[in-house]
């Protein structure tokens, strides 16, 4: 470890870093703008100047940009040097010559890096007497607001949007003193990662437009650590509330998962919490007055629970606690997963593979750091967006590290490395049914029907490990493809295989495992991951329970059953013909959910459930990482409670027990652990509810939270008692522990002098590294190095078209396919209309063109869908937009009839 001298004090720092990172890691503050841990240094802003000395006798020194200077042993620098300080103050003053007088109406205010840095440098008086430069703004779509006058030309936005996220429609225009950051012309930002601009831009140029609708300053938010609910990646978020409404979702740094970023579905998909469509009142249907009071509901449930035969339908979007509480209520033999047999079977397959631990289950960080990625059969851009962003980083970073090796340039020297890299890319083989936006950076792409993708996978596996079966009836083309991919994978040191279940093929899952397991040797650490459909698909999949199809047969066999469905709109996953019969067979239907949907319509008893923002719970993401989300605010409506709380009460009615009210959620997790060994360790996901630091709880509100004695004064001038949280160590006040909160429970990032999101540096071991105290989350799958993999030997025959029938597969859309995110008006606006994709030849055969209407007959239902011709798609397969508009659950992977509408 090199020692550097900062203002004559020795510090041990990590080699290979730049001075700015090194100083920040030591807690020495240097102002900066253009450098970002994920973007590296370019030296564009000149803000991070320090003085560098040749040796201890050098009194002159020279000014350098700390972000462009590497760490060397014995290096001497001064941050407090008079000239360096004056220089930095001058730089801010120059940056400010054109800065508008906007803070009061700027959404960045209060969490503005420019404000923080201005205060840090001490600049306070404007000497420049001339006029200010102005710009016109652009319309950038419903998610991001543009206010170009506030720009300080740090270039972070384009470096993030273009270089990091691969967007093509944001750029820098004009020249010299007039550079402009925006689009070529007004229009919606195309990248589904555009929301991060709001956090990356150190000023208020790019801000969250959905927040603007109900604007609240950071200091006024009640915040809690949360977990994104919109896909299986489980990005960590901070959710903020004011006046009983969820106002904003911000990134919560997790070095192993999402790092600094979120996708737009996750960032903006929060408005369902505030939606009109919320279930607000318990309802017992077929009565004169359906809305019932608490005592009426209790009486009803007491008899219902005590007297009836219960079966429970769980949900992949409900928390682990909720599914487990339901299983406890109905009994293990009566609990069903609430997903179709196919989905349950495939998820189970994934769980079994990961449980063996023969191949490491890849986190997003593992993907980013891998040096070769193979995607087999999953369109992760649309099903697990942040995973796609991680793959992109792997492709970029591999090329960067090659360049760094060859050129001896440090890897953080972004501009120089980029110049050196030119068009070189790391290895990505993107093998999908019909392509994805990642194809653009892939060294290798292949398309085909799922069976053929699986066969290609098995062929690769055979090339890697000749003891694995040869693929039968193959053409040379397939073998050659497999050979060339295998050759690159063999050269890699940390290859990652990415797959998933969305093409409904067992073979794809198995082939992916065979490849990963063949690559995994003592020298080469391979990793694998499978994207799953919903935020807690993994947590549900890990439970020992049959699929929904078994519940259907059960109801056909047995009469007088009461069905308890929790947080699951079954119509999204199961076809309506099956469901309608199912519901007609049930004697009584009790549904707990947060939003009205087609399933809640069927309920005889409907009970309002809390969303993630109003409750506590745990989710297990695709890699088997259990993550806890904390209640953000207590809803004013007393009926809105976590489903697991309702279910536990119902369990007490059933057993006629009287102990066990108001147990904290960790007790459920402990019980889960003791009954199901696969969940071992999950109770460590959260500190106990009575956890304190020096006797103090962790406040959800920043110390400058305002309006406490006025916000409810219109109702009653005497302030109510602060709300009590008995389920977690967080409190609903601004009093309590002040300081760096433990990584497992960070409600917001803040540090003295660092009001903006950049304060996250103070929470990390080093900038861009792990959070101090470890990145949150408990991994439930453990590597078992050296254990013999049990390879899959069977493989599908190659895909054969059928006359007049098409294999139907889901086409997911990053903004649109989410069940809950679609309640955000802005996302709804960006949702494509449902369509059916087919190959050019098939289109010719059916005599249709782009935009024509086709009729798809699936599961005894007819859909009229617009045609999209996809040139990558093979003949005999159609893709139907999943979860959009009228499209319900279909038997994906089955054969359907498609015909032209006359």
């Amino acid at each position: 470890m090199p020692t550097i001298y900062i203002d004559n004090k020795p510090y041990e720092v990590k080699a290979g870093k730049n001075l700015l990172e090194a100083c920040l890691a030591q807690g020495v503050d240097i102002p900066y703008f253009c450098w970002h841990p994920s973007l590296g240094s370019v030296g564009a802003c000149r803000q991070c100047a320090v003085k560098l000395f040749k040796d201890e006798n050098d009194t002159q020194g020279r000014l350098v940009m700390s972000c462009l200077e590497g760490v060397r042993d014995g290096l001497r620098l001064s941050v407090n040097d008079k000239m360096a300080k004056a220089f930095r103050e001058q730089i801010i003053e120059w940056l400010m010559t054109n800065h508008p007088h906007d803070c009061p109406v700027c959404d960045e205010g209060g969490s503005c890096h420019l404000q923080d840095m201005t205060v840090m440098t001490g600049h306070d008086y404007r000497h420049y007497d001339f006029k200010k430069r102005t710009y016109r703004n652009q319309y950038l779509g419903p998610l991001i607001h543009h206010e170009m006058n506030r720009c300080i030309q740090c270039y972070r936005c384009v470096r993030y949007y273009k270089d990091y996220a691969g967007g093509e429609d944001l750029n820098v225009f004009a020249a010299n003193n007039k550079v402009y950051f925006g689009r070529e012309k007004d229009g919606v930002l195309e990248s589904p990662f555009s929301g991060n601009l709001a956090e990356v831009c150190p000023t208020g140029v790019f801000t969250d437009k959905t927040l603007k609708e109900h604007y609240t300053r950071k200091w006024d938010l009640t915040m809690a650590p949360s977990v994104c609910q919109h896909c299986s990646v489980g990005c960590n978020t901070i959710a903020g509330e004011r006046y009983g409404e969820l106002r904003v979702i911000l990134n919560r740094y997790n070095g192993e998962v999402n790092g600094y970023f979120l996708c737009d579905r996750g960032r903006f998909g929060y408005e369902f919490v505030n939606d009109e469509n919320r279930v607000k009142q318990p309802v017992i249907r077929n009565r004169t007055s359906e809305a019932v009071t608490e005592p009426e509901l209790t009486t009803y449930l007491q008899t219902a629970m005590y007297n009836s035969k219960l079966i429970g339908i769980g949900s992949p979007r409900a928390a682990v606690e909720t599914n487990f509480a339901l299983q406890q209520l109905v009994g293990p033999g009566n609990f069903y997963k609430g997903i179709s047999e196919d989905e349950a079977y495939l998820t189970n397959k994934v769980v079994r593979i990961l449980e063996t631990g023969t191949v490491h289950s890849a986190s997003l960080k593992d993907i980013e750091q891998s040096d070769a990625v193979l995607i087999l059969g999953e369109d992760i851009w649309n099903t697990a967006p942040m995973m796609a962003l991680a793959v992109r980083q792997s492709v970029k970073k591999t090329a960067y590290s090659h360049a760094a090796e060859q050129s001896k340039l440090p890897i953080w020297h972004d501009a120089a490395i980029q110049e050196f890299v030119q068009e070189e890319k790391g290895f990505l083989a993107n093998i999908t049914v019909a392509g994805s936006p990642l194809d653009g950076i892939a060294a290798y792409t292949a398309y085909g029907a799922p069976d053929n993708l699986a066969r290609l996978g098995f062929a690769i596996a055979h090339e890697l490990n000749t003891s694995l079966p040869v693929v039968s009836n193959v053409d040379d083309d397939l073998i050659n493809k497999a050979k060339s991919i295998a050759a690159v994978l063999l050269k890699a040191k940390k290859p990652v295989i990415v797959s998933g279940i969305s093409c409904y093929s067992e073979g794809v899952i198995e082939a992916a495992f065979n490849i990963a397991a063949s690559l995994n040797t003592a020298e080469r650490k391979a990793a694998i991951c499978y994207a799953l459909p919903a935020c807690n698909s993994m947590g549900l999949g890990m439970m020992n329970a049959p699929s929904f199809d078994h519940a259907v047969t059960r109801l056909q066999r047995e009469q007088d059953m009461t069905v308890v469905i929790v947080e699951n709109d079954l119509y999204r996953d199961i076809s309506s013909s099956v469901l309608d019969t199912f519901f007609s067979k049930a004697a009584n239907i009790i549904v707990l959910d947060s939003l009205h949907n087609r399933t809640t319509e069927k309920a005889n008893v409907l009970i309002p459930a809390a969303t993630f923002a109003e409750g506590d719970g745990t989710m297990v993401n695709y890699e088997g990482r259990a993550q806890r989300f904390f209640q953000v605010f207590m809803p004013a409506n007393p009926f809105i409670r976590e489903s697991w709380k309702w279910l536990k009460e119902m369990n007490l009615y059933k057993t006629q027990g009287s102990n066990g009210h108001n147990q904290p959620p960790e007790e459920l997790l402990e019980k889960l652990e003791s009954t199901s060994h696969q969940f071992e360790g999950i109770s460590k996901v959260t500190p106990p509810h009575d956890f304190t630091i020096h006797g103090e709880r962790i406040p959800r509100e920043p110390h400058r939270y305002s309006g406490r004695t006025a916000m409810l004064a219109n109702l009653n001038v005497s302030e109510p008692k602060p709300m009590q949280d008995n389920d977690s160590p967080l409190s609903f006040t601004m009093e309590g522990f002040k300081g760096i909160q433990p990584s497992i429970a960070i409600p917001f990032f803040w540090s003295p002098g660092w009001n903006s999101v950049q304060s996250v540096t103070k929470y990390q071991e080093e900038p861009g590294g792990h959070l101090r105290g470890g990145d949150p989350g408990v991994k439930l799958f453990h590597d078992r190095q050296g254990s013999e993999p049990s390879f899959f030997k069977g493989m599908p025959e190659s895909f054969a078209e059928r006359p007049e029938k098409w294999l139907v597969l889901p086409q997911y859309h990053v903004l649109g396919s989410g069940e809950l995110s679609i309640y955000t008006k802005a996302l709804e606006e960006l949702t494509p209309s449902p369509s059916v994709s087919l190959s050019q030849q098939d289109a010719n055969r059916l005599n249709v063109q782009n935009g024509d209407m086709l009729q798809v007959n699936a599961d005894a239902k007819k859909y009229l869908l617009a045609v999209t011709i996809n040139k990558n798609l093979c003949n005999g397969v159609v893709l139907v937009s999943a979860g959009l508009g009228e499209v319900e659950g279909m038997s994906w992977g089955s054969w359907v009839k498609v015909s032209r509408c006359e």
Binding site: H101, K132, F173, Y215, R217
Partner: protein, 171 residues
């Protein structure tokens, strides 16, 4: 003894000095313009609401008795959707006035706010907003801000140059 006589004498002398007490409430006190009393929200010279809903007064308030919600009109002009001061908590410190970047919130020389019912001391925007510029005439924040809120277009402010032509490469 001497002290008692002296006290009586001094008291007697006071009969002939000028009175400082007044016949309140028949006669009103004279207060300085900067006297910190009842809080009002003022309007700008063009009659628009001055408050831009920046939340700075609320943050500055040591007793947290200001609560508001910002919103925007169709031109993007920000103003408070509601603005509430709980005067039963207010300590008339004037911090809000000092924090306000737009001269919207001002403390005025009026202290006659006695109420029998504490609830009546909760003032909403309708109760706070006055049709005047108050102590600081002439200032309109939106004329000097960088945003276009329907008050002036980009580059039309006094200290602003015309918007940059981004298609030009000339210096």
């Amino acid at each position: 003894m001497i002290s008692h006589v002296r006290t009586i004498w001094l008291t007697f002398l006071h009969l002939f000095t000028k009175k400082v007490t007044i016949e309140y409430p028949e006669e009103k006190v004279k207060l300085h313009p900067r006297w910190r009393g009842r809080i009002v929200l003022t309007k700008d010279p063009d009659g628009g609401e001055r408050c831009v809903g920046c939340y700075l007064c609320a943050a500055a308030c040591p007793v947290d008795c200001i609560a508001l919600q910002a919103t925007e009109d169709e031109n993007g002009r920000r103003y408070p959707e509601f603005f509430r001061i709980n005067f039963s908590r207010c300590i008339f410190c004037g911090f809000c006035e000092e924090a306000c970047p737009t001269y919207a919130i001002q403390l005025i020389p009026d202290f006659e706010m006695g109420e029998y019912n504490r609830q009546n001391l909760v003032f909403e925007k309708e109760d706070l907003l006055i049709n005047s510029e108050g102590k600081y005439p002439g200032y309109n924040f939106y004329k000097v801000a960088g945003i276009n809120a329907g008050v002036k277009g980009k580059g039309e402010g006094e200290q602003e140059e015309a918007p940059v032509d981004i298609h030009s490469l000339l210096p």
